[in-house]
Symmetry: C2
């Protein structure tokens, strides 16, 4: 058995079945090993950012790692942005990166680069396989590292000669650590804060945005009067009718500060201390009021679910508030971010997986979909745009029986549009809505915020050239069809509603280009 065969056999034993792959010459033995492994599913990706984003989506929805297959440093480089998002999402992911043969590296061949340095920026665990005999054990260690709470990117660098050399054997799975139990003193401090009567909020993040923790947190809130918040960009938020309502912290620091204003206690459950997404001149980066006590009940690797369940048992039992089923009226008239949101809220099917990279066009989505049937909401955890379509690809492969709705801003869609081809190839049930507002609308807003100009005539050519996506307009219906995804274009709310309902009713991929006006426009 060669090293590549040992890697694939070990991953099978560790429960890793799906490979999002864009291999090159140095990975051909891995491809050959996958050929011999009937349970492995090799999903071709036309760009590495699709492979890494899909592995993120798969890991978020399945709770188990997928593997990537990336080609040397440039292949890893192309996949870095979505590995960055996966790192922020704490997604379990086995990142397999091929390298030149050990004896070839010192020759500095054209594709040689510092893979280890690149991998270190996005991985919780990096290891370079040293010989074929250790390939199996290294792979088992990678799989265990990926599953180390709360989940992380584990990168295994596999030189070509180790893949092709004999003398390897599979290794048995290693146990992954359990989440760290929350210590008693943290529980005691939080209990005192909740009983203090002072304004308190619980900020949920990480795995605490899933139904059991939401319900526990809602019981605590109902009994103590604490407010329930969740982080701005949760990796996977369960929501909809029958679940507790949770207010997401705003993206802009002014809004987030207003949400936290007056709080005396902020209890972090799986979330990190809230900070501003970007810095602005003269504004602090920390969002909680300076006199607010921030209690780290459970960090990302701690057992937030257990701590919340335990706290919920300590408070008097009070029925928690849950969201009633509600559906916006089907919209008519102008197609805007608001009317798209109404249509999505009205038509969202049961158990949908919603991938949200709608950016400014998505402003109305949380309200419009609040009372929709129980669904999962996946968001852009690390701010590296180009996540949505790959994430939807991986989520659809993890959940073949669930409809996936991908809500995608046009500027972001163009980063990793190649995912559409994989969606078509794998015949995935993904309905993509591209909000075609022909601008980097969020940057138009940020430009106005950061460079206030009393004289509206000041905006110059560079700004218009760089933030505007028209001249020529992108035709997403044509782009999708060019990759084999049936597509249509909607210019009114009625057209959108009809097309969206039809796309949801039919299995397989669809894309709707929703021509909406930009939320902001430069003066």
């Amino acid at each position: 058995m060669n090293g590549a065969q040992a890697v694939v056999a070990t991953l099978r034993e560790c429960g890793v079945e799906v490979y999002f792959a864009n291999p090159g010459t140095s990975e051909m033995h891995l491809v050959a090993a996958l050929d011999e492994e009937p349970t492995a599913r090799a999903v071709p990706c036309l760009f590495e950012g699709v492979a890494t984003g899909a592995a993120d989506g798969y890991g978020r929805m399945s709770g188990r790692p997928a593997a990537t297959v990336l080609h040397l440093g440039p292949g890893l480089g192309n996949g870095l942005a979505n590995l960055h998002n996966a790192r922020r999402a704490a997604t379990p992911l086995v990142n397999l990166v091929g390298d030149h043969a050990t004896h070839h590296k010192p020759l500095d061949a054209p594709l040689e680069s510092d893979i280890d340095a690149l991998a270190g920026t996005v991985s919780g665990w990096v290891h370079r396989c040293r010989d074929a005999a250790s390939a199996g054990a290294d792979t088992a260690a990678a799989a265990a590292a990926a599953m180390t709470p709360p989940g992380q990117v584990a990168t295994l660098i596999l030189p070509a000669d180790i893949s092709w050399s004999p003398g390897a054997c599979p290794a048995p799975p290693l146990p992954s650590p359990r989440p760290t139990p929350v210590p008693d003193d943290a529980m005691t401090a939080v209990t005192a804060a909740l009983r203090s009567g002072a304004p308190t909020a619980i900020l949920l993040g990480g795995t605490a945005t899933r139904a059991p923790s939401l319900r526990a947190a809602a019981r605590i809130a109902a009994a103590t009067g604490a407010r329930l918040l969740c982080e701005t960009f949760p990796a996977r938020l369960e929501r909809g009718a029958g679940l507790p309502a949770v207010e997401r912290l705003g993206y802009l620091p002014d809004g987030a500060r207003a949400q936290l204003h007056g709080l005396r206690h902020l209890v972090l459950a799986g979330a990190r201390t809230p900070v501003s997404f970007f810095a602005y001149p003269g504004q602090p980066g920390l969002l909680a009021p300076s006199d607010c006590h921030v209690h780290a009940l459970a960090g990302p690797g701690d057992d937030a679910a257990d701590a919340l369940a335990h706290l919920a048992d300590l408070v008097p039992h009070t029925a928690p508030a849950t969201v009633a089923a509600a559906s916006p009226r089907l919209p008519v008239g102008e197609l805007t971010g608001e009317t798209v949101a109404a249509a999505v809220g009205a038509l969202l099917p049961e158990r949908a997986v919603v991938v949200d990279e709608a950016n400014t066009s998505g402003l109305w989505l949380p309200t419009a979909t609040a009372g929709a049937p129980h669904h999962d909401w996946l968001s852009l955890t690390g701010g590296a745009i180009g996540q949505g379509l790959p994430l939807a690809t991986g989520a659809a492969i993890a959940c073949p029986e669930r409809p996936v709705v991908c809500l995608e801003a046009d500027g972001s869609a163009m980063y990793t549009l190649q995912a559409l081809w994989t969606i078509a190839r794998e015949e995935l049930d993904v309905t993509t809505v591209v909000y075609a507002n022909q601008s980097y609308s969020v940057l138009e807003m940020e430009y106005e915020r950061l460079t206030p100009a009393p004289d509206s005539g000041r905006r110059g050519r560079a700004c218009r050239d760089l933030l505007d996506l028209s001249r020529p307009n992108l035709n997403f219906a044509e782009l999708a069809q060019g990759m084999g995804v049936p597509a249509s274009r909607a210019t009114t709310a009625e057209e959108f509603t009809t097309q969206f309902a039809k796309a949801l009713a039919e299995p397989g991929p669809h894309l709707i280009e929703a021509r909406v006006p930009p939320l902001f426009g430069l003066r």
Copy 2:
């Protein structure tokens, strides 16, 4: 004046006029500074790999750096593959990467990552700007570093607060070092080798693949009987009628070894010691025969042009052989890599810039275009595919009066297809040919070479799924039109010839999808 204004003003003084940009919030002050700078040209790119590849193409053709504008670590990550190629091409390039404000970095906001580590993998020079007062001087240092022979990627990391803070001023340009003169003992050794009568070849690379050095090398060859070779993937090779013929070293090690077989002396002029692109089991990585003396006349940073000119003056004057004007017959019948090459060779206009990422489909191009009018040939220097379309974008901006012909493999085209939109926006005279053979044909070949299988039934599902680009076929004509580039599809040699001639005759962008069979096909 704020830091961003000082950066832009300093770059103007250093002769940097073009910015290939994909900015984010942390770069908004750079955008505002560009707004105020009438000589700056801000070119929008929908993906950072387009920006970095375009800056490479611009630098190769102009000999001066363009600047990029990239957003934080993920933006740099997306641009890394083409920065890797630029590094291998020794292209002068000022890589501007925005970062979070200095005081914001410790908060580990969602987009925080190790930019310095990423930049180090592709840059010859990396500097993080520490305050607004030094922004001007740091920028001048970056521009000088970019122009340090043979040219390199100089990355300047610019925190947002330095961009927006006052107290900055522009700095005057710094002198760049000259290429290192070749020492006398190297000249003496090479002269002796050339006079030895033993089989000798001169391997040209770097700047020695430009006309003056080619002519000098050809005089040396004519006088001494030495053979002229050039590296496999030259950054910019001048060729065509009236220039000396130079044999490119082959991509596959077997072929390259055959080319070097029997040599007793190999003189490196701007080139590096030839090594195999990839390793193969049981094969050495060094390509020259073990008893061949390799003379490093001039490495990439040395003055190869001067050394060759000097050597040419030492040898008896002999008229060097040059290539006669010749044109293949216009092809008819089946459309293949061979007939496409014939049409390109027959129709290539005077002073064309040819960007070659045709991969296996391009096998016939060197012969078919050898006698075409004088042109530049830009190739994939670092092996990171997805270079062609961005490189053509930058070359067209550097040389607005010259036609650019981009010969692009379908698999590679899909990496950075977003370049087509920039080509359309900027109305560049780029004629793109996509060789649509619906496969990663080079990998089909490498798979056969690396995993020899006597039983042809062994090829499994993973191999077919990962190396095949059909199911569904990509429709490049639709994809191009979706980004505003007029496009057509050719299925016969006659159709291709007609469409290619028309595209060359009309200014502005065109794309032709050439449906060709794969060169290799898995058994």
